[in-house]
Amino acid sequence: MKEMDQYNFAYLDEQTKRMIRRALLKALAIPGYQVPFASREMPMPYGWGTGGVQVSAAVLTPEDCFKVIDQGADDTTNAVSIRKFFQRTAGVATTEHTEDASVIQTRHRIPEEPLKEGQILVYQVPIPEPLRFLEPRETETRKMHALEEYGLMHVKLYEDIARHGEIATAYAYPVKVEGRYVMDPSPIPKFDNPKMEMAALQLFGAGREQRIYAVPPYSRVVSLDFEDYPFDPSKAEHPCALCGAEHTYLDEVIVDDDGGRMFVCSDTDYCAARRAAGHRGAMAAPYEEEETAG
């Protein structure tokens, strides 16, 4: 209780949380619509998850169990930093196990373990506007959403195919939510897009850009494509070198000076659980010792 006394629960004052919750409710009522909110200056820099942190602060309760991942891993530096922030300011229980968490804040990944009803997935979003790199003006893009004018996006996807033979977007692949709003799923790899039709509640916070949006459980989330060029959630064609999984998103790690590389699950919790259950990848054995030491 020592440090908690210096801050309100979860850092933000109650008025600010109320303002954020109102934005969240509006976002849930209009799935995929970007709700402007008066983002606060947080004690971490803009671009480092301030939107996600504010959303988490607004939804956390003392009974929650909190998990933070960055690039799928619980132990990347910024995930550690955000988890510590809420340990200090909210004193909530934290976990690395997807299954045990009630609120999961994420940057760039959706956990491999399917999420359940009652869980909340909070995304950190750098650029919430899916049309931003086609039209830099906010005044214009808001109009385009209002008029459901998404032709520009389809032209972009078409030009990709004309030029490269396929849609050249590998992450932050645009989706349409409940048949209405085109939405940026945050920079998750397109491999994760199909998971967005899930049982859990998905909340998106963009602090610097002052936007909140949401996808209610079981909403329809369709990755944009064409009939003759259907969406392809591809990934590296390797099994995980540690746990042998062939259905997970993999990180490529350079292991020696000759450019030798291995592929491992980006979701560290999922990979560890598989290894604990006895799954073994091609390179698992030599690393066992370090794992248990770490």
Binding site: D70, Q71, A170, Y171, F191, L242, D251, S266
Partner: protein, 365 residues
């Protein structure tokens, strides 16, 4: 190798400990006190207060010390602190016409009631390194004189009297506050001025400079620049009248801009306005120029496509805390996105080389 990804927590703690040591520097050199920074690096303190949007010289000095002299980092510390403070109320608009000026100059009139007061300025100093400052020793006391008790009315009021300058009637509505409401466009002038007052000095300076070089030129003269103390008053509902609650140092710049008239406005002078915390005159003048450039619409001028005329461009990019945070976030791991790009490039290359090989085979046959 997998261990390298682990241990983030210990790495962070160690990095912070090292940072604290670097901040202190060589322990055989005396430590700077916050008071020394506040008094002797006052212009740095002023900038941190202006862009941090918090008038507190002691906290600004502390932030500069904690940030090792990195002013944007110091501004960030102040902003993050400021946002946690409760709002007790709002002051009445300060009366800069009643400012007790340390400095007051006009470039448009040789003399005016209240006179020209140079004050403590770098203007007209020769920028020669003063090696005496490297040695220790007391400086001679500057000469002092009794302040002229005559009031110093605003220069633009004289032009206003003759109807030569576009009037600026007082508005009764509460100005918007971009620290409490999300920035939405179109932004009215009060909101634009608030954004500029908090904006990065370098950014606002460069925007202003670009107008001088022809990107949205607006022919400014410094009608008046004044630096000094004003009293802050607040209405106390229980009392039914306003009481003085303190004093702040401000810099105010009003530019007088040539204007030949437009479809909607007669030929007259127009204004740009800058107001900043502390003695921050480069910022205040820059702000006035950019303010004037952003007023093209209300004055019926043409949009020449200049960056400084583009409110969305200027307002969305003026804040150095937003900009530096987003810029520096690319230091964070991005290997998931990068991996997906790698896969895509490999796939496209494989397809392209397969197509090329097929074409070569066909040509050979």
């Amino acid at each position: 190798m997998y261990v390298a990804v682990k241990g983030g927590e210990r790495a962070i703690d160690n990095a912070h400990a090292w940072l604290a040591e670097e901040r202190r520097g060589d322990p055989s050199v005396a430590e700077l006190s916050v008071a020394q920074i506040r008094v002797q690096l006052a212009l740095a303190v002023n900038r941190v207060m202006a862009e941090g949007s918090l008038y507190d010289p002691d906290l600004a000095a502390l932030a500069i010390k904690q940030a090792r002299g990195d002013l944007i980092e110091a501004i960030f510390l102040i902003r993050a602190y400021r946002t946690t403070l409760p709002r007790l109320g709002a002051s009445r608009p300060v009366d800069t016409g009643a400012m007790r000026c340390d400095r007051r100059i006009s470039a448009t009139f040789k003399d005016a009631p209240g006179g020209q007061v140079l004050g403590p300025t770098f203007d007209y100093t020769h920028r020669l390194l003063d090696f005496k400052l490297a040695a220790e020793g007391e400086l001679p006391q500057a000469e002092t004189a009794q302040a002229d008790p005559a009031p110093m009315p605003r220069i633009t009021d004289y032009l206003n009297r003759d109807g030569l300058i576009q009037p600026e009637p007082a508005a009764e509505d509460t100005p918007p506050d971009l620290t409490r409401e999300p920035l939405e466009l179109p932004a009215n002038r009060a909101l634009r001025l608030q954004a500029l007052a908090r904006g990065d000095e370098g950014f606002v300076l460069s925007m202003a400079y670009s107008t001088q070089r022809g990107y949205g030129r607006n022919h400014p003269f410094v009608g008046e620049l004044r630096v000094g103390a004003v009293t802050v008053e607040m209405d106390i509902p229980e009392l039914g009248f306003a009481v003085e609650i303190g004093e702040v140092e401000l810099t105010e710049c009003e530019t007088v801009n040539q204007f030949v008239g437009s479809k909607t406005e007669p030929p007259q002078f127009t204004r740009g306005y800058g107001l900043t915390f502390g003695h921050t005159e480069r910022k205040a003048i820059s702000m006035a120029l950019v303010d004037r450039a952003l007023r093209w619409q209300e004055l019926g001028e043409d949009d020449t496509g200049a960056p400084a005329q583009d409110a969305e461009f200027v307002l969305y990019h003026a804040d150095n805390i937003q900009a530096s945070g987003f810029l520096e976030h690319i230091k964070l791991p991005h290997y998931v996105d990068f991996q997906s790009e790698l896969e895509l490039i490999r796939k496209i290359r494989a397809e392209a080389s397969a197509a090329q090989a097929a074409a070569d085979r066909e040509a050979a046959e």
